[in-house]
């Protein structure tokens, strides 16, 4: 086997040097820069126009009293850090931030645990693995809006013929208005289940890929050393080997949690507004800046605050877990 690998490597090296020699001879070499821009240009342009300019513009707007305009008068409307102070003093905004810290603390470990458990189970299957992988992954292909509407209208509606209430009816319990009851806060049940249903499959795939990269020899060695299959092997072999995947998944989950919008908005908003509970920061900003409110200065300030929080949390988390550190 070693001999064959060496042979392949040698062939590859020869091929590479040939290609290099060929390229050197081409007169088109001086057009390289041109071709670089032809290929990269459109994407860089798109990124600039649709991402960076709006981003910088929003930072700019956050220093102005910009009601119903995106081009405030620099002399008249400048308010310095006034919008930031107002936003941080706004109880509704700080409440939404706090709610979402708590929400993340709950949803991140839950989604993480569930998708890891699914991955471990699917990975152990001898037969029909592809089938179950697809079954669990499929919800990830469903739109958040569609899923939220199904949850709201069919499963967790408040009337006697909703799915959840039909089940309650079998045990002779009263119907519950799932999304309208604040005590106890049943709406979290709908929100958390729809999010888990939508996301667990996707992160399961990431974990599966990680699991399949673990060298089987490690398990053989562990067995030889007398490690018991099950928890001991998972604790000392599987989980440490999944570190790179775990860190990435945890980061993505935290960012996702803070950017939550779709399912919340579609589950809880109506034509007249959004209730004051379970209100994600982005939904609140949406009503402030983009709705009829059109207070683009305050909205931008809130967006910057949120972005800074996400950045700090992400960087902190990455350092904590040692993202990008070379695996031993």
């Amino acid at each position: 086997m070693t001999a064959r690998t060496e042979a392949t490597a040698r062939t590859a090296a020869t091929a590479r040097s040939k290609v290099a020699a060929h390229t050197r001879e081409l007169p088109a070499r001086r057009h390289r820069a041109l071709w670089f821009w032809v290929f990269v240009g459109p994407f860089a342009l798109g990124l600039g126009v649709f991402t960076y300019i709006p981003l910088l513009w929003s930072v700019y707007l956050s220093f102005f009293d910009a009601h119903n305009t995106v081009t405030p008068d620099p002399a008249r409307d400048f308010v310095g850090f006034g919008n930031y102070a107002d936003m941080l003093a706004d109880g509704a905004f700080t409440d939404s931030l706090l709610t979402f810290v708590v929400f993340s603390l709950f949803i991140v470990p839950t989604t993480f645990g569930l998708s890891l458990a699914l991955a471990l189970m699917v990975n152990r299957l001898r037969r029909a693995q592809a089938f179950f992988r697809s079954v669990f992954f499929l919800p990830a292909a469903c739109s958040y809006v569609v899923a939220a509407l199904i949850w709201k209208m069919s499963i967790f509606n408040g009337v006697r013929f909703g799915l959840a209430n039909t089940l309650l009816g079998y045990v002779d319990a009263d119907s519950v208005a799932w999304l309208s009851t604040t005590d106890p806060p049943w709406y979290w049940l709908a929100i958390v289940t729809v999010r888990l249903w939508l996301q667990a499959g996707f992160f399961m795939i990431l974990f599966l890929a990680g699991l399949q990269r673990i060298n089987p020899q490690l398990y053989e060695a562990a067995a030889v050393d007398g490690a018991k299959p099950g928890w001991q092997v998972f604790r000392h072999i599987t989980f440490p080997q999944l570190r790179a995947t775990s860190v990435a998944v945890a980061l993505l989950l935290v960012i996702n949690a803070f950017q939550a919008f779709d399912e919340f908005y579609n589950l809880l908003a109506d034509s007249r507004g959004y209730p004051p509970y379970a209100r994600p920061p982005l939904v609140y900003l949406y009503y402030t800046a983009l709705g009829q409110g059109q207070n683009l200065g305050m909205g931008s300030a809130g967006a910057v605050i949120l972005a800074v929080i996400i950045a700090v949390v992400t960087i902190g988390q990455a350092r904590w877990f040692g993202l990008g550190r070379r695996e031993a």
Binding site: H67, G158, D183, G293
Partner: protein, 418 residues
């Protein structure tokens, strides 16, 4: 000729780039070259549910010969679409608005239309013209009047030996008596009435959201007492919550999920068709020293300050929404169910002279109040609805909650008074 891979790539990149660029130019709804002569105008409407409305407005636009008017029929969150579109050059020239709101007027996003209706100003119902007037200038021409009212099932009330409620206390009692395991007493919306009711209970208690001179209208212990009664409805479990369709749709009422429902005049034809005579309508019942109330509102025609040809746009609005009374009548009465904004037209309408419709018109005239005063900005609405939700659903202390609402509303009113 052979095409090399490289040439193919160059070609397709260029095509893609061109496609990208052309995709940036959005369709503003303005026609290309004016076929009927005159400048091109785009006119936006929100999507009306009633069949025939779209064809009707397209027909009106076509009949205008001094400009080439293109109608855009826009589904979805219309108020947000127009709010965003008014910031750009690609917005509408003429648009209907559930406003325009105060910041749009102060931000000079819409044009002053006072001169268009000067001659017939008194013919417009003041309840809908006032919220479109700022400092004596008119910024939107009311199209039709919409109102909200309480529907009740006569047979269900008779079975439970309940009289149609005339006071808020009676409403609370009636809703509790009408509630059974499968049928709830009252439906005020899936949010327990926070959005649909708005300032209606305050109005019924003799208060208001904001006074004409820009002061908070509910800084009064009476407000706390009245809103506390809505919480009572919630605490009694008399309210239907979590229905598949919300209060604006009569479905919950028609499916027998609730004995009474707060909804709009627009629902009347559907209710009539389904229930025949087995229903009645009521205004929101009075509380204490107040009087019964129904909120009225109106979509109005407004002209964007970014319109390409401002005079042509104004002339068209004047033609359609001031001069063409026949079209206005057709629009109000032939498709959905609305009260014409012009008093002279409302008086003539045969459809509004009998049964529940006649009651509704009487409520609108006697007890109608502007649902959305101009000074009641979106910021105020969010603050008030947050407080209302906490009072109704969480059982928060109404006095304390309202104090904090009043403080925030006062700050916002000071901002807009500047």
């Amino acid at each position: 000729m052979t095409i090399s891979r490289r040439r193919l790539l160059t070609g397709s990149t260029a095509t893609a780039a061109a496609g990208l660029l052309s995709a940036c130019g959005s369709n503003t709804g303005r026609g290309g070259s004016g076929s009927s002569g005159g400048p091109a105008l785009s006119h936006w409407y929100h999507q009306y549910g009633e069949p025939g409305t779209e064809q009707a407005v397209r027909r009106y636009a076509k009949a205008y010969d001094k400009a080439d008017v293109t109608v855009q029929w826009r589904p979805g969150d219309y108020d947000r679409q127009t709010a965003a579109a008014l910031l750009t050059e690609s917005g509408p020239d003429v648009f209907e608005a559930n406003g325009p709101n105060l910041d749009q007027i102060r931000g000079k996003q819409v044009l002053d239309l006072t001169e268009l209706i000067e001659d017939v100003k008194d013919d417009y119902n003041p309840a809908v013209l006032t919220p479109k007037t700022h400092e004596g200038r008119v910024y939107g021409i009311p199209q039709v009047i919409d109102m909200q009212l309480l529907y009740y099932r006569k047979s269900l009330l008779a079975d439970a030996k309940v009289d149609p409620p005339r006071t808020l206390d009676e409403l609370v009692d009636a809703a509790a008596k009408l509630t059974t395991r499968d049928v709830k007493g009252l439906f005020l919306g899936n949010d327990a009435g926070v959005g649909a009711l708005g300032g209606t209970p305050l109005q019924a208690a003799g208060l208001e959201l904001v006074t004409d001179d820009g002061e908070v209208g509910f800084d009064d212990p009476i407000a706390a007492r009245t809103l506390g009664k809505i919480h009572q409805l919630y605490a009694d479990k008399s309210l239907l919550l979590g229905a598949p369709s919300d209060w604006s749709d009569p479905a919950a009422f028609l499916q027998g999920l609730t004995a009474m429902q707060w909804s709009g005049l627009w629902a009347l034809p559907a209710v009539q068709k389904e229930l025949g005579d087995d229903f009645g309508v009521l205004p929101f019942p009075k509380d204490g020293a107040g009087s019964p109330s129904v909120p009225v509102g109106a979509y109005g025609a407004a002209v964007s300050a970014r319109a390409r040809d401002k005079d042509a746009a104004k002339a068209y609005v004047k033609w359609l929404w001031v001069q063409q009374t026949a079209y206005q009548e057709d629009f109000a009465l032939s498709y959905g169910f609305h009260i014409p904004a012009r008093i002279s037209l409302a008086k003539k309408a045969e459809k509004l002279k009998k049964g529940a419709a006649a009651d509704a018109v009487r409520f609108a005239t006697e007890s109608g109040f502007p649902a959305q005063p101009l000074l009641w900005t979106p910021r105020n609405q969010t603050v008030y609805q947050d407080g209302l939700s906490r009072i109704i659903k969480d059982g928060a202390d109404p006095d304390k909650e309202l104090k904090s609402v009043v403080r925030k509303v006062r700050a916002e009113l000071e901002r807009v008074a500047k």
